[in-house]
């Protein structure tokens, strides 16, 4: 790690990151938020190692726009990589900056000093703390671009599995969430949003609701309705009454600039080598105009196509046949366990907001846009919410709280969404369609690979557009234009095309990402973004390819990974745990595997799935092997990998958002089943030992898990289901007549 992270480049003054406490401990700040992933405990360990402190002496402050560094969004499995690297650098720089002053004070050579418990010590026992050695002004000067001496070499806490203090508080019922915040004079608010983007609220009489006990005021602003009440009970009752009398009509098309279902842009990436220009056939817009997800035809299996291959692939006359298959995934909900919640308070033209958003600086910018404020007039403070797997309703409810608090005469207002709001109003992970083709030569080897992905954009997060990306701001009497969902640049991980570029050594490949408009549905970032569908598709396709050409699926993969020993290692680890080829079980039992290097730049992760296909598809056991580089806490990393594997199992077997004319119908848990204790597989995790730079864990297993399950289903029954989720109906439909 010889370069400073971009976060440190932008905020190079130590004072922005670190300060000493009176008790000899250190307080550090980060822009990355704690969302149950244990990040702040991990950051404390990194700092504790550089300063030779106990992790309990390192306090990590909750992210805040007032005092903390801007580290963008907490997403993409990048926090240890980015925030960890920045804090390691700062802590090491502080230590090393104090070395020379200590040497002078003691009158000994700098190299003769010993460092212990945030103090420099001389051989004769004199000690001086960093806090007393470095003047306050030092912390306000930019750090050198040269890596501090000895950075990352102390490893007392990094690499250890330690219990998180928060888990003890949880065990005793003492852990607090944003929902538990209470300010003096606080009012409770509820906000009703139209059921669909663009729907208009009809006329309604509010007097009866205003007269309800405990209700302070009821507000209408365009298509938004809000109630302020003394307590949650009164607010909920008024909100229910409002919902029962509100009527909505479909409005004009939503004010994005893009017509529905048109291809907006196309990204193409190609490998050097033989150019593959001609596509296999016309690829039109995806066909998800209706309420259903696009489904592939189960009979559209790989086809032989000798005559077409010459024109398709003029550079390689050896191509004999082309295999083609189409894979899909549906719209998936975040379905966080807690409904979104925020608090807001106005004092004059200043706005304070407490939020569980993943991007507090971006939220601040969009709140300023929405309310016509200078960015400096808005303060955003992060408070822990329930587990968060992407852009959910957290930012939207912050707008709701700020909007209602404007009517509260300076009192703080807490707004909490209902379960139905959480399921129907929050952004969703979009449906995708992936078309794969491989040209094979006479030996069955791939000579060209084509991957086309069709999807709405995967990010409509705040902070990136000329207008606010906040639901309520599009629904007031003076609505702001809704920004279209986009994909971030491929170099930053992309969106729809994430993990579409093959990880295998192939003579030629082409990847195209076709972005389509999301229409009235809300599309945004959900854990792993496009990687779920792309890895599910590519790793299913590889299995199909291997079997059709008479090769073992593991062998095929290893043969195409000669260039990537870390990929081979994770695959070999899951193959070895249980044996490969898998021992033949009884009828209905099957085993599959899959792998990916997340984003092509992150963690290497392979998954082995063992299933039983009876009346339903049951995943019995998952083995996850990951190479995460340097692991800060092996148990914390395992927890993230296990969680990702279980969430992916839930997606693969069960989850689909229901729509009726673009209205979300899956508005409660019983309408949106997720994996339960009775259905959860055993998950075993292997971490490949490594001292390479850290890469994030949380999103790496999602795609490989889904693909491994589909491959195991094929192994069990000989049927290939290319559409997620792998429901009993689809399995039956895929069976030979």
């Amino acid at each position: 790690m010889s370069r400073r992270s971009s976060h440190l480049e932008r905020q190079p003054r130590p004072a922005q990151w670190l300060a000493w406490s009176a008790d000899g401990g250190v307080r550090v700040r980060t822009g990355k938020v704690e969302i149950g992933q244990g990040l702040h405990d991990a950051l404390a360990r990194i700092v504790a190692d550089e300063l030779d402190l106990d992790p309990s002496q390192v306090q990590v402050a909750a992210a805040s726009t007032v005092s903390g560094p801007d580290e963008g969004v907490t997403s993409g499995s990048l926090s240890i990589q980015e925030a960890g690297a920045a804090l390691r650098w700062v802590a090491a720089a502080v230590r090393e900056a104090a070395r020379e002053p200590a040497a002078e004070r003691f009158g000994v050579p700098a190299d003769a000093l010993r460092f212990e418990a945030a103090r420099w010590c001389s051989a004769d026992g004199r000690k001086a703390s960093i806090a007393e050695l470095l003047p306050a002004a030092w912390y306000h000067r930019p750090l050198d671009a040269v890596p501090p001496r000895g950075m990352g070499q102390r490893r007392r806490w990094v690499g250890q599995a330690l219990p998180r203090p928060r888990v003890i508080a949880l065990a005793e019922g003492q852990a607090r969430f944003i929902h538990d915040l209470r300010w003096p004079e606080q009012l409770e608010g509820r906000v009703l949003h139209p059921p669909r983007i663009g729907d208009r609220l009809g006329a309604l009489e509010l007097e009866a609701v205003r007269a309800m006990p405990g209700v302070r005021s009821v507000w209408r602003d365009g298509d938004l309705l809000g109630v302020l009440a003394d307590d949650g009970v009164a607010a909920d009752a008024a909100s229910r009454r409002l919902a029962s009398i509100a009527s909505y009509q479909a409005g004009p098309p939503p004010p994005t600039t893009e017509p529905s279902l048109r291809m907006i842009d196309e990204r193409v990436a190609e490998a050097a080598g033989p150019t593959v220009q001609a596509s296999a056939g016309p690829i039109g817009a995806p066909t998800w105009t209706g309420t259903e997800v696009p489904t592939s035809t189960p009979t559209a299996t790989a086809t032989s196509c000798a005559s077409a291959s010459a024109t398709m692939h003029p550079a390689r006359a050896t191509a004999l046949r082309t295999l083609r298959a189409v894979y899909t995934k549906p719209w998936i909900a975040h379905a966080s366990l807690a409904p979104s919640c925020a608090l807001a308070c106005w004092s004059g033209d200043r706005l304070q907001v407490w939020t569980h958003s993943q991007g507090i600086f971006n939220l601040r910018r969009d709140l300023a846009l929405a309310f016509g404020l200078a960015v400096e007039a808005v303060e955003v403070q992060h408070v822990e919410g329930a587990g968060c797997y992407g852009h959910n309703g957290a930012d939207d409810v912050a707008f709701d709280a700020a909007w209602l608090a404007r009517q509260a005469g300076g009192r703080p207002v807490r707004v909490v969404w209902s379960r139905a709001d959480e399921m129907t109003r929050a952004p969703l992970g979009p449906a995708m369609r992936v078309e794969l083709e491989a040209d094979l030569d006479a030996d069955g080897l791939v000579c060209a690979w084509r991957h086309d992905v069709h999807s709405p954009g995967h990010s409509s997060r705040p902070g990136r557009s000329a207008t606010p990306a906040l639901l309520g701001s599009w629904q007031t009497a003076e609505p702001q234009a809704r920004p279209a969902a986009i994909d971030v640049a491929s170099a930053q991980g992309g969106g729809a095309e994430r993990n579409a570029v093959p990880g295998y050594a192939l003579p030629a490949w082409r990847v195209r990402a076709h972005r389509v408009d999301e229409g009235r549905r809300r599309s945004s970032a959900l854990r792993a973004l496009g990687a779920l569908a792309n890895v599910f598709a590519a790793e299913s396709f590889v299995d199909e390819l291997a079997r059709l050409t008479g090769r073992d699926p593991l062998r095929w993969r290893l043969d195409h990974l000669a260039h990537d020993p870390r990929a081979r290692a994770v695959l070999q680890a899951v193959a070895d745990d249980g044996g490969w080829p898998p021992p033949r079980g009884a009828e209905g039992f099957g085993t599959g595997l899959a792998w990916a290097r997340y984003k092509g730049t992150g963690a290497w992760c392979a998954v082995r799935a063992e299933v039983h296909a009876g009346a339903t598809l049951q995943v019995r056991r998952l083995v996850v092997a990951a190479d995460l580089g340097t692991v800060v806490d092996p148990d914390g990393a395992a927890n993230q990998l296990e969680g990702g594997a279980i969430q992916a199992t839930s997606w693969a077997l069960l989850e689909t958002v229901g729509f009726d004319d673009d209205r979300v119908t899956s508005d409660r848990w019983s309408a949106y089943p997720v994996l339960r204790f009775s259905q959860v597989p055993t998950v075993l995790v292997h971490l490949i030992p490594s001292s390479e730079p850290s890469v994030g864990a949380g999103e790496a297993p999602l795609g490989p898990t889904a693909a491994a399950i589909a491959n195991a289903l094929h192994d069990a029954l000989g049927v290939r289901v290319r559409d997620l989720p792998l429901t009993p109906e689809r399995i039956v439909a895929a069976m030979p007549g």
Binding site: G36, P163, L170, E172, F177, L337, G643
Partner: protein, 153 residues
């Protein structure tokens, strides 16, 4: 009906009888460990014990509790099963965000009070009404077995 027995203490309650037990616990008793996830008894986050039986506090009027003793997550440590469950929960690091943890700890404690050595299928069945979105299920299953083994010692 003006009082409610929670975690061995009697609380004077000033709320209509139809108010949900969940709201009374959080707003009147100041016990914020019981959490609202869905408000419809479908997720288990709000579970508490009534005389040792697990119930959803989000769809139960507080007046219906009558003279029964309510135990919330804060009060679990008073029984050997609850105390063992807490220790095991920490030992297994059976949480990520922890929003579901209170309900799970309550349900697991109730199970151990009924059945001190439950089999795996029995544990899964007892926890099946509890949703967890972060995926700590296996850790929770291990925590219950660890607590059971601890109690048997």
């Amino acid at each position: 009906m003006t009082s409610l027995r929670v975690n061995g203490r009697v609380h004077e309650i000033d709320a209509p009888g139809g108010t949900r037990l969940l709201d009374v616990l959080r707003e009147q008793c100041g016990l914020l460990g019981t959490r609202e996830g869905c408000g419809a008894g479908e997720c288990g986050a709000c579970q508490v014990l009534l005389d040792g039986r697990p119930v959803a506090s989000c769809d139960l009027p507080w007046a219906a509790v009558g003279s029964s003793a309510v135990t919330t997550v804060e009060g679990l440590g008073a029984t050997p099963e609850g105390a063992a469950m807490r220790r095991a929960f920490v030992a297994e690091q059976a949480a990520q965000c922890g929003f579901c943890s209170s309900g799970l700890l309550v349900a697991a404690t109730a199970l151990l009070m009924r059945d001190p050595r439950p089999g795996d299928a029995h544990v899964r069945q007892a926890l099946d009404g509890h949703l967890c979105r972060c995926g700590v299920h296996n850790r929770m299953l291990r925590a219950v077995q660890r607590a059971a083994a601890d109690l048997a010692r």
